[in-house]
Symmetry: C2
Subunit: 520 residues, 2 copies
């Protein structure tokens, strides 16, 4: 057990790295930090005066067509653990030289600024995954996904923040602290890829790489008004995703992109899979990114409520509105009755900490780092005792049976994708996200899922508090009561679209069709 | 703990099923059991007089082109747990009627008689997986692979024997007893798919379905002079492979074919994968059976010795001879230096019984069934205490690192397939196979592997005992001393060819090229 002095001294090392990594000329002076609402700071890139007209044009575009560097730095959000400006500028020069010499792009992501969640290893850099005890860990080599992105021409310009334990839908740790949400500083950016959500949502990066074991790409995408994809597992490499649970395979985390558009997500996946990563990382399946067509009788199942926790009024309104637009566009829309999401939750919850959390607590004990409340919250999902290997097997078998049955049900009902919320609320106060199962259910089912803006925002004049709702449980009550029309007013509302197992390509095609319909 | 009376009474139930399932008119009279050597009975189908000329023609062909039923029954080998003559004849009639009506085959395996290892579930039948305690288990539905074979037109005519625990390279249990080897009744048919090996090797079935977690398809194929494929995992369904370790995923068993030719193995795989089983069993990867070409600079690495246990003189001779023939055919042949197979063995051995064997022993205790010596042998591979979940994770991580490194090494050395023995000896005495790692190493590496006849046989005049060999360990000594020129004289010698992870198609193509060269 370490002392308080020990853990905070260790953390200081990373705070120093963070501060020194931001060139002083890019820090905004305090007087420039005024924003339109005092809480929504997404207009800052435009109003700060620190960006040129050209740079502003760049920040208003998605990755497609951008082949120059993009640089932005705003300290307030605290989304970065380390800016890589030196490396990024050097790499940009290299790419420029390559282009000048050859007239060709170095790869499909030539010059695209991409942020990287901190726990993806980068050679020679501290990678701590949110654990103070791991500040001593310096990576030997890049994560495979980092290597592939570099090979594709990307410019990796910033490493981003994550919560302690990587198991919060929030973004606070004892090292670099709390990341804020650029759309409302009182709200959380979500997590665990909260730094990515803030960075991509704020357009400090065009794309970002997050990881997701229960919603950690999708909730940040949802809360930051951008796009995010949780791919089916075993298509993107986990090699070099640092953490303390290497070899845990019962519920797999997966790396995936956040971006400014659905095209960004597809570009990212194609850039990785075209490099045949399965011939390097033997855990991956040998399936390239495929060209697909939507099924002839393409049908969307809409699940407005998972039967456990009712979404907030603005979220329900967004799904009513979206369903109408889809029908108006001539798309088949049917209700999706959830298939025992409680059962799915019971399986996944037991698998997150099959050791009863002892591995995490042993790490905290090494330095005396305090266990944060949302870490305690996540660990209590586990059973009190560590599972035996045979109990773990039994959960694996239940998981597979559930996956098979859910897939069968989608086929029987003729539903190709499921449209559902990513979280009960459009957003959540800092420190409060506690209900995981609008996203975690698709992790236990291993179905690919994309999050995208609905184009709608919370509106206190439309989305009234409903005190007559009779909650189905304490958690349902807790989440229903979290709705606050004033707090959430004007906050963007996201959609989640869920595909069938392995059918990531069809999912993205479906999401594009949905987007066309709702933007029409 | 049950009494002896209890377990033997339970076993009697299955013996009765076995006996009644063989129509009396197909049992050979005792005077017909004379054979050429008294031990090699593979000529029995020809000499028995019980088969017509037409039937004999059928038994001398592989699956390709056979579209009629094939029936054979010989009690001596004891390879069957249950003959399915009634169902098989009814199915054959159906198929004949279909063909007469439509002029078309019902599927790519139309009428092919295929044997099924007992622990693959068949609806309405007892499935015990070699455990006396499981004789109470009647299956609700067919294993998915059984369904797919039926759909492809196969005639499933016999269920085959397996050892207690499914974890012997031998074939004895407390239910239907010991299966013998048709090439030498004193030798084991191998295991755990020993009934399959005997059935396919004796041509009682054209093809058979075995399962393999450490060599259980390949050792029976090797010891019965036929062909066998252990596919890469997650391509063939394990749904309905009955056992007591559902959810154990650290070292996966896999179902695969035994057959009369390399074409048989390919036909079988293609018949299954063309049905897109991944859209039913969500554990499977969505990769069809692919048409491939061999790499331009196709290269075979020959591993004559795994560095742990030296193969017997006839096996070494077969590999010398084969290498020469390959070179003579203009194929690139290089030596393959094994990459720390001891490390691989340490990982896989610990993963076979991570519960320290307690699950198996609990089953034996239910009826008082005696633990057979080779079960005790296999369980002692495990550590003394059950592993914790975290210890299991650590082994998983080591396994993945080993797979990645081995794959990388094959690429660096430019080797496409590895040619190696399937077992230290060409065969083994009943009850003695104890060294698994010529096959188990490819399970931990999850590389596909095919076994095929070398075309050569042990020859006491060529393959002398070498008393000068200095063994590297006690196990090396034990296996070296198991060679007996008289015992093994004229016993066939097999080859194993190992492909890269996921590259089952390339592997079969390579095996065909090797076969062409050695048959030339």
């Amino acid at each position: 057990m370490g002392s308080i002095g020990q853990w905070s001294a260790l953390s200081q090392k990373c705070i120093d790295i963070q501060r020194k990594s931001l060139p002083a000329q890019w820090a905004l002076p305090v007087e420039k930090l005024a924003t339109k609402s005092g809480e929504d700071i997404t207009s800052l890139p435009k109003t700060s005066g620190i960006l040129s007209d050209l740079e502003l044009q760049i920040t208003e575009h998605d990755a497609e067509g951008i082949i120059q560097k993009y640089l932005s730095g705003d300290w307030t959000l605290n989304f970065a653990t380390e800016f890589l400006s030196h490396e990024a500028l050097a790499r940009a020069d290299e790419l420029d030289a390559y282009f000048a010499r050859t007239g060709k792009l170095a790869g499909p992501l030539h010059g695209i600024p991409i942020s990287i969640k901190e726990h993806l290893e980068m050679a020679g850099k501290i990678t701590h995954a949110g654990f103070v005890s791991k500040i001593s860990h310096v990576s030997d080599e890049d994560a495979l996904i980092v290597k592939l992105l570099k090979e594709a021409g990307a410019v990796l310009h910033v490493r981003t923040n994550q919560p302690q334990s990587l198991m919060h839908l929030d973004c606070d740790n004892n090292i670099t602290g709390r990341t804020l949400n650029p759309y409302n500083l009182r709200l959380t950016p979500g997590g665990s890829s909260g730094g990515e959500g803030a960075s991509v949502g704020f357009r400090a990066s065009v794309m970002g790489v997050g990881t997701d074991i229960g919603g950690s790409i999708r909730v940040p995408a949802a809360f930051n008004n951008c796009y995010g994809l949780r791919p089916t597992t075993l298509r993107n490499s986990n090699w070099g995703l640092y953490g303390i649970n290497a070899g845990q395979e019962s519920i797999r985390g997966v790396a995936g992109p956040l971006g400014q558009s659905l095209n960004d997500l597809e570009l990212f996946q194609k850039a990785l899979l075209d490099q045949q990563p399965w011939d390097i990382d033997t855990t991956l399946i040998p399936v390239p990114w495929r060209d697909v067509e939507l099924p002839t009788n393409f049908t969307i199942g809409v699940m407005m409520d998972d039967g456990m926790v009712k979404p907030h009024p603005p979220v329900l309104r967004a799904f009513e509105s979206t369903s109408k637009k889809l029908r108006a566009a001539g798309i088949n829309v049917v209700p999706w009755e959830p298939f025992d999401h409680k059962h799915g939750w019971d399986i996944v919850a037991a698998l997150y900490f099959p050791d009863g959390g002892e591995g995490y607590r042993a790490e905290f004990d090494k330095t005396g780092e305090p266990e944060l409340p949302l870490t305690t919250w996540a660990i209590q999902y586990s059973r009190e005792q560590p599972l035996s290997v045979r109990e773990n097997w039994s959960l694996n078998a239940s998981r597979e049976a559930y996956r098979k049955a859910y897939h069968q049900l989608m086929k029987e009902r003729g539903v190709d994708v499921i449209l559902c919320p990513a979280y009960p609320g459009a957003g959540a106060l800092q420190g409060t996200p506690k209900y995981w199962n609008y996203t975690a259910i698709w992790n236990i089912l291993d179905q690919p899922a994309v999050v995208m803006p609905s184009g709608l925002r919370c509106d206190k004049s439309l989305d009234k508090v409903d005190d007559t709702y009779v909650a189905r449980s304490e958690e349902d009550k807790r989440e229903w009561q979290a709705y606050d029309p004033e707090l959430f007013h004007d906050f963007p509302i996201a959609l989640q679209v869920v595909g069938k197992h392995w059918q990531d390509e069809t999912l993205l095609k479906a999401a594009k069709k949905i987007e066309e319909a709702i933007r029409a």
